[in-house]
């Protein structure tokens, strides 16, 4: 099999008409697109459905809901149905009640008269409706507003501190000769290889000692000094010409001034890549916040989502809506900076 497919895949392109390989490739890419985007799209459209609609099986793709109507004399909105009447005509009526296989309908234009129809003759009248309540209710009634606020605080602060601390260290490691520099760099590289899981237990103790359990500081600080970031920034800063720094020194600039007015602006591409990684990583971080945070008012959005799922009978309508909100910022960042991100990763090999 491979000896038949592979030549197709590797044949030089450039001929005018479509080749079988092109079909195979576009088939793979189409399938891939459906598979990669599908779950998110499905979650997105589902998040606008009513609870009744979510429980419907088999599901419909778009968020339909039963059309309802307010009729004077009834304390709740009535569902609309298309009803085939005895005389063969079809009418849109509101269902008042259903008893067994018989249902009673009221005509919205003439509400006093009730019509009895066999349920076989009726079909619910459905229309496209977006259930914005799915988004509003969890933010108001449950604590999702707090979760989002916490996540935003953690993401922004952690990213700023990460950029500051690591760029400063990378500056020193790339632009100065000093005793112990190689040792520091070696240590940094070594810890790149050590899995985070290994340090969970003692890190929890350190957090406890510092009194940071159940605080956002405890989530932010421990992972701020990241070897990956130092490595990435150092490699970039090495490419900046030292003559530039020398010239600045001759002009009387202090070392600090060289750092923030020359090196940082020139390292903007690397810093931007790192900022995106950091935002993404902090926004999605799960295991460490799960250990540090113990009270709902401190939860970040992933922890909130996870526990909301466990606390109640799964209320999918809220859970899906909040999941969509959680992936929205990352999706927007990606939509605008896609090229930057993918090329940045390909050239640095950094994983958030």
């Amino acid at each position: 099999m491979p000896d038949r497919i592979i030549p197709f895949l590797f044949r030089t392109r450039g001929h005018k008409q479509l080749h079988l390989t092109d079909f195979l490739m576009y088939f793979y890419l189409t399938l891939g697109t459906i598979l990669m985007f599908g779950p998110v799209v499905w979650g997105f459209v589902s998040s606008f459905k009513t609870q009744a609609e979510l429980e419907k099986y088999p599901p419909s793709f778009l968020p339909y809901a039963n059309k309802t109507i307010e009729i004077a004399g009834y304390d709740r909105p009535l569902s609309m149905y298309t009803v085939k009447l005895d005389d063969g005509s079809v009418a849109e009526l509101a269902q008042v009640r259903r008893v067994g296989i018989e249902a009673q309908f009221a005509d919205p234009t003439n509400p006093d008269e009730l019509i009895k129809v066999h349920v076989d003759q009726t079909e619910p009248l459905r229309s496209l409706t977006l259930q914005w309540e799915n988004y509003i209710l969890p933010l108001q009634r449950f604590e999702f507003f707090t979760f989002f606020k916490n996540s935003i605080i953690v993401t922004i602060l952690a990213t700023l501190i990460t950029l500051f601390v690591n760029s400063l260290a990378a500056f020193a490691l790339s632009k100065y000769e000093f005793k112990g520099r190689d040792l520091i760099f070696l240590l940094t590289i070594c810890t790149l290889m050590i899995p985070t899981t290994v340090t969970l237990v003692p890190n929890f103790l350190i957090i406890t000692k510092l009194g940071w359990v159940n605080s956002l500081v405890g989530v932010i600080i421990p992972a701020v000094a990241s070897p990956t970031s130092v490595f990435l920034l150092r490699q970039y800063m090495l490419t900046l010409p030292n003559e530039l720094l020398e010239a600045a020194r001759l002009d009387g600039a202090s070392e600090w001034r060289i750092y923030w007015q020359i090196v940082i602006p020139l390292s903007a591409p690397a810093i931007a890549v790192l900022a995106i990684f950091s935002v993404n990583w902090r926004w999605n971080d799960f295991l460490w916040p799960l250990i540090v945070l113990t009270h709902t008012e401190k939860f970040t959005i992933p922890i909130g989502l996870h526990l909301f799922q466990g606390d109640y009978q799964i209320e999918w309508q809220y859970l899906l809506a909040m999941s969509v909100l959680a992936l929205l910022p990352i999706t927007l960042i990606f939509a605008f900076l896609q090229k930057y991100i993918t090329t940045g990763i390909a050239s640095t090999g950094v994983k958030m």
Partner: protein, 349 residues
């Protein structure tokens, strides 16, 4: 007519807004930096230019020592002490008891004969997870990278498509898939539509194991694809032209040209995905919680359950287990690097 004149206007408007937003931010930044600068310049006058480097690495090193190096050492302390207390002074020395607890087995291949049966179940589950996930990632990342390396229309778009899931939170990923896989979910609706029996995917041990691997590959393959793609693009086109002139078939040039030159990238993917897959936790924990039963309980969840979510927590055993995990990762990574011989440089300039 109006379309032409409106667009630059909008652009100018946005530029103006962006500038208005950035002016206070850059101002704040400059203010902050100048303030720190006062202190830094004072220090520089005292210690001189050369020693400023120490000041610059200091914050990073302090944090690094506290939250990376100290914990690595601390792990040994926990692993060799017992008790239910978190604070080190309240713990008693336990010798190798925590390790003995984990290693006490009548038959290492049968987890139910072990005292720490959940550790061993987790370990074996992790082994099978790693084999299938790393295999799946290598296979699909390679195929996708090869396809994306062709001169096709919309290459940037498709590259983004495959990369997008890697950016999503594993919790959201788990919830989205749980929603699709549930008994009355989209997938079962599709199966019934095809006249097949619906399956309760997350209540079946075999299916859960499959989907956990599937979703792990789904959400990570894009990242590894980019690494392989970068490797492919680094191979000079002249090599292929030369091979073609020599009469090499496409399969031959893939087998004897692409694969060997791609080896460094493939090794990077192999090692990185291995290290990450061994530590699988997030999406599984949210989606199956380790279930049904212990079918998808992996080693990190064992550490989490033992150390943090059981009552009373047993930090000693958790630390011992994480040391064993760290050792396994270290040894296997070294073996991988040795076997794949990544020491010898492949150089093609």
């Amino acid at each position: 007519m109006s379309e032409i004149s409106v667009q630059p206007q909008i652009r100018r408007q946005t530029q103006k807004t962006v500038r208005l937003l950035t002016i206070p931010l850059t101002g704040l930044y400059a203010l902050l930096m100048n303030a720190i600068g006062l202190m830094m310049d004072f220090i520089q006058k005292r210690i001189g230019i050369r020693k400023m480097a120490y000041i610059f690495v200091l914050p990073n090193m302090l944090l690094f020592a506290t939250f990376s190096i100290l914990p690595i050492l601390g792990n040994f302390y926990y692993a060799f002490t017992g008790g239910t207390k978190v604070l080190p002074e309240n713990r008693y020395f336990a010798g190798a008891a925590n390790f003995e607890f984990i290693m006490q087995c009548n038959n290492y291949l049968d987890p139910s004969s072990c005292r720490a049966d959940l550790f061993w179940r987790g370990l074996y589950n992790t082994v099978s997870y790693v084999i299938f996930s790393v295999g799946g990632i290598l296979l699909f990342a390679l195929i996708t990278a090869i396809v994306l390396n062709q001169p096709i229309k919309g290459r940037g778009f498709f590259r983004g498509v495959f990369f997008y899931p890697t950016l999503l939170s594993s919790v959201v990923v788990a919830l989205l898939w749980k929603w699709i896989l549930q008994r009355e979910g989209l997938l079962n609706a599709g199966l019934t539509g095809l006249g097949l029996e619906p399956v309760n995917f997350l209540l079946s041990a075999e299916w859960s194991k499959f989907w956990v691997v599937f979703i792990g590959v789904w959400s990570n393959v894009g990242f590894y694809t980019l690494i392989i793609l970068a490797g492919l693009q680094a191979i000079p086109a002249t090599f292929y032209e030369a091979a073609k002139i020599d009469g090499a078939s496409s399969w031959a040039s893939f087998r004897y040209l692409t694969l060997p030159l791609l080896k460094p990238s493939l090794i990077v993917v192999f090692v990185l995905s291995f290290i990450r897959c061994v530590q699988v936790f997030d999406h599984v924990f949210v989606m199956t919680g380790g279930g049904p039963g212990t079918a998808t309980q992996y080693i990190v969840q064992y550490i989490y359950n033992t150390g943090f979510s059981s009552d009373p927590p047993n930090l000693g055993v958790a630390a011992a287990a994480s040391l064993i995990l760290g050792l396994i990762i270290l040894v296997l990574t070294l073996i991988q690097l040795r076997v794949t011989g990544s020491g010898e440089e492949t150089d093609y300039a």
